[in-house]
Symmetry: C2
Subunit: 263 residues, 2 copies
């Protein structure tokens, strides 16, 4: 059993938790908690750590099945974990290897495109909602928060393993590729004249969502095929980024359901 925070494996985990650079270099990320562990695709699982207390419950031991694991003392586990009340299980997992092409696997792709999104909770929530709304993939610029940060992973509730995503080294070029593939790009903009529900999202569509404080850059907004607004009552100036993205994604899903019914 590992009972010292000076242990090399413990140090590796803490570095993976805290440093995007270490995650990138090793091609790994951390997964915490029973539910998130349960959903790890088995071929991606690299190393599993459990706390001493965790092993005391038969149900927990069952969850581990035939998987090899390291046991660590409860104190050391708390030190390794990102959550304040850890469930006693965490794992190193291989990063996903999606390409830009993977975002287009659907017949009429629906994309969410994020520019410099900064809040990990927002990114995780968008992934979770995107899977539910049947989005084909998430495209991000390099300045968007690291999708493998523990807080993003937690908020995805497992969608991280399933929805294709891609960080574009050349964001502008990637947007051009998306457009060449026939995807119509929509930019949510308060000054837009058309309400979002007036557009047809049953065709290939991409929703551009900008930074929480500053919205989309002009350089990106100019690539949009259409500006749409989510009309606002009261004095609210804008919506939370995950809420805005979700309203658009679920309107697209609603339109597709309606179209199917009409057929």
């Amino acid at each position: 059993m590992i009972s010292s925070t000076a242990n090399a494996q413990v140090k590796d985990v803490v570095a993976l938790r805290k440093k995007p650079k270490v995650r990138r270099e090793k091609g790994l990320f951390l997964v915490e908690g029973k539910k998130m562990f349960e959903e790890v695709p088995r071929e991606r699982l690299v190393k599993t750590f459990v706390s001493e207390s965790f092993l005391k419950t038969p149900e927990n031991r069952e969850l581990l099945g035939q998987i090899r694991y390291e046991t660590v003392s409860d104190a050391v586990f708390s030190y390794m974990a990102d959550t304040q009340t850890p469930q006693g299980i965490l794992a190193e997992v291989k990063q996903m290897e999606w390409t830009l092409a993977d975002l287009f696997r659907a017949e009429a792709p629906r994309l969410v495109i994020l520019e410099t999104l900064q809040d990990p909770g927002n990114l995780g929530t968008i992934l979770r909602a995107a899977e539910g709304a049947g989005i084909s993939g998430i495209l991000m610029n390099m300045d968007t928060v690291d999708i493998y940060s523990p807080k993003v992973i937690r908020s995805t509730m497992g969608a991280i393993y399933r929805i294709p995503f891609f960080y574009a080294p050349d964001f502008r070029e990637a947007l051009q590729t998306v457009k060449r593939r026939g995807v119509r790009l929509y930019a949510a903009h308060l000054a837009a004249e058309r309400c979002y529900e007036e557009e047809d999202y049953t065709k290939a569509s991409g929703f551009l969502i900008g930074n929480e404080g500053n919205g989309l850059t002009d350089a990106t907004a100019v690539l949009a095929d259409a500006y749409i607004k989510i009309p606002m009552e009261g004095k609210v100036e804008s919506l939370n980024a995950a809420v805005a993205a979700s309203v658009l994604m679920f309107e697209a899903a609603r339109q597709r359901r309606q179209k199917k019914k009409q057929k």
Copy 2:
């Protein structure tokens, strides 16, 4: 200038920040940052604190105008503030005094009803989205997180000052009152047969949203007039509570726009 964390006023602020009970007893809450300060209804402002550095910028002094304030050292300000990089201004503000009746001021009220919502970020995000979607009011049970906690306040982006809300000491009785007022209650439920867009929200409507982990209690769900589902693709089991609430609220807003256009 206040330069000690032992100062009584400093202690008062910290207690207000940390303790729902203290906030309740004093009928006050804390507001941090320039934007949130700017939007405080002036008659609610009780006491203002600024950091030494804050006063160095002419623009900041202008924001204060004729308002009396206490200056505190930067170190003490950091101690008082809830945020990691405080903007140098915070204020004690009188709590709002809405009644249940205030939630019905609209002609066809649209309510959001929260049962034991626990995440402050979710509650704040719902308030912000609710104002944007033209919701008439928010009804909550007593086990819902304290709306005056600093994290909720921040996420509302000012909606806290404008949207009526009410914590019902007797939640069940309040729901009965809501129903007697002609509000049709909708409960989002994964097992529901009808998709949410198939209902008519142009009439008086209330959306029941449950706890993040456990959803609605049976005792509450049974009071719903209709169960609705937000259909999900992929393996996602549920949506983040703020996302689910927003999808419903903005569908209601969309239907009202459509109805207006048809007239």
